[in-house]
Symmetry: C2
Subunit: 301 residues, 2 copies
């Protein structure tokens, strides 16, 4: 898993600070999470292949999280896209995107599927052989979901030394990966554990923005490898965070601590703060493995 | 008059090439013409004061000319704007903007007036003491207007030397500027022409994008000081220009020549051409005073 922060700035884009948008690379997927204005420009900047994006997850319908979506969808069309595109987001997203595409005469020539969300409980919204994506209901001024991206347990891995030692042929590899035992031509039974190693550990990424401090998300993000959490304000503006249903850096750290996540990334910074380092200082007082998001930063999970 | 090109690229924004948007500074106004995705970021980049923009003119509802509008309008609200904002654009613009603002919960707290256009003849859409703005009906795939910005003739200018020579007092200045004669205390009549100079010559700017070659615009842009004209293609792709209702550089030059404009700026370049200089070469063969638009370029008119 690899997380590429395209933007992590709150409310309104600045010259050097893009609003929320991220690319999560997991197995064969490139998932786009939120799509602030100018996301397509950031994708080009980072040389991310547009055609690899097949699933877009929108947390909520505040402009800084989706105003770039219609432009991206239109550009896909201009680039001659044929692959299906799936957009997951709050109810209403279909109407607003459809009207924009119609009025701008840029109706897509590829299949565009809207998966409108309105469930207030966590639900699986995407699943294939390698990954599941669950919603994480968040506590914001409007209906908002975070997203939990979870790898599925992969196949067992061949133990190269043992494979060589017992002179195992290629055509047995798949069965071994599937956990089956092997009977050699002379009748010897080789138990699967003798030839294989456990699958790679599964990785989990939880995106939680925008949200107020709310412990109801803890069971969903328990021990994830990486948690990206709303950190719009510093503790000194706790009241503002409360009022706008955002979090402080300290609150994000507290959530990370309680959920025992491996690593916390703070983001969605308000432009009132010039020195982002104060977010790090504030969160570090409560939780060690904390990092600041920054445009263009990549986190290997 | 000063024209600031924020973007002049066709169809879809690239990392270093913004879609159509311009700021025209004329008298006390900062007019925004078209508003491709990311325009607000360009405005910040060029340190243009958001609060000075009170009138926005949208040529047509293709995404590369208006997808940045909703973000800009939302940002105005976040910045605490109180001044009225006027948006002039094709019928439909109100519905699509209104829905986006509603769904993103960013309804404005300042007065937002939509002036929806559907007239196929040229009409005055803005006028005050110093400037008029007329539509220039264009020939594109969808209903499209160019815009003609025309200064009004100003007051007569005081001839400083003469003012000194005749020892004229401040309180007579306004009447002189208005063209009135002056009678001195000793009864001497000073004709206005003895004390003043003609007003500054009026300036005109015509924005004509997107459009196919169409001579019907000639009377409207006759002898303007600066013409910005669609130049999406080179002559080699004339058929494509015809089909998509765009122009070639050569056609733009021909229009400039026939209208006897003082200066032509080419823009709205297709991304298929790496070397923009070919647009200049092609147009120069027919019209001398031609320039290429470029992001960040400023033309003093």
């Amino acid at each position: 898993m690899k997380l590429n922060i395209l933007g992590c700035h709150a409310a309104t884009p600045l010259d050097n600070a893009h609003t929320t948008s991220q690319i999560l690379e997991v197995k064969d997927h490139l998932f786009l999470i939120d799509c602030g204005e100018g996301t397509q420009i950031k994708l080009r900047h980072h040389k991310i292949k547009f055609s690899r994006i097949k699933h877009i997850f929108i947390s909520h319908l505040h402009g800084d999280h989706f105003f770039g979506l219609v432009g991206l969808i239109s550009t896909f069309r201009l680039l001659g896209r044929t692959a299906d595109l799936h957009v997951y987001g709050p109810k209403g997203i279909k109407e607003v995107l459809t009207l924009q595409l119609k009025i701008s005469n840029s109706w897509t020539n590829y299949n565009l599927f809207f998966h409108e969300l309105e469930n207030k409980e966590s639900e699986i919204i995407f699943e294939d052989d390698s990954v599941t994506v669950n919603t994480i209901p968040l506590d914001h001024r409007v209906y908002t979901n975070g997203f939990l991206f979870k790898e599925k347990l992969g196949l067992r891995r061949l133990d190269k030394e043992k494979i060589k030692k017992y002179n195992i042929f290629n055509y047995d590899f798949q069965n071994l990966k599937l956990g089956k035992d092997l009977v050699l031509d002379d009748g010897t039974l080789l138990k699967n554990e003798m030839l294989t190693l456990d699958p790679n550990p599964i990785k989990c990424y939880a995106f939680c923005s925008d949200t107020a401090y709310n412990e109801s998300i803890l069971p969903l993000i328990y021990k994830v490898d990486l948690l990206y959490h709303d950190s719009t304000f510093l503790k000194v503006h706790k009241n503002l965070a409360e009022k706008t249903r955002h979090s402080t850096a300290f609150q994000a750290a507290k959530i990370a601590h309680l959920a025992q996540v491996k690593c916390l990334v703070l983001g969605h910074f308000s432009s009132r703060y010039r020195d982002k380092n104060n977010f790090l200082i504030e969160a570090s007082s409560f939780f060690d493995a904390v990092h600041l998001a920054a445009d263009g930063e990549i986190f290997d999970i």
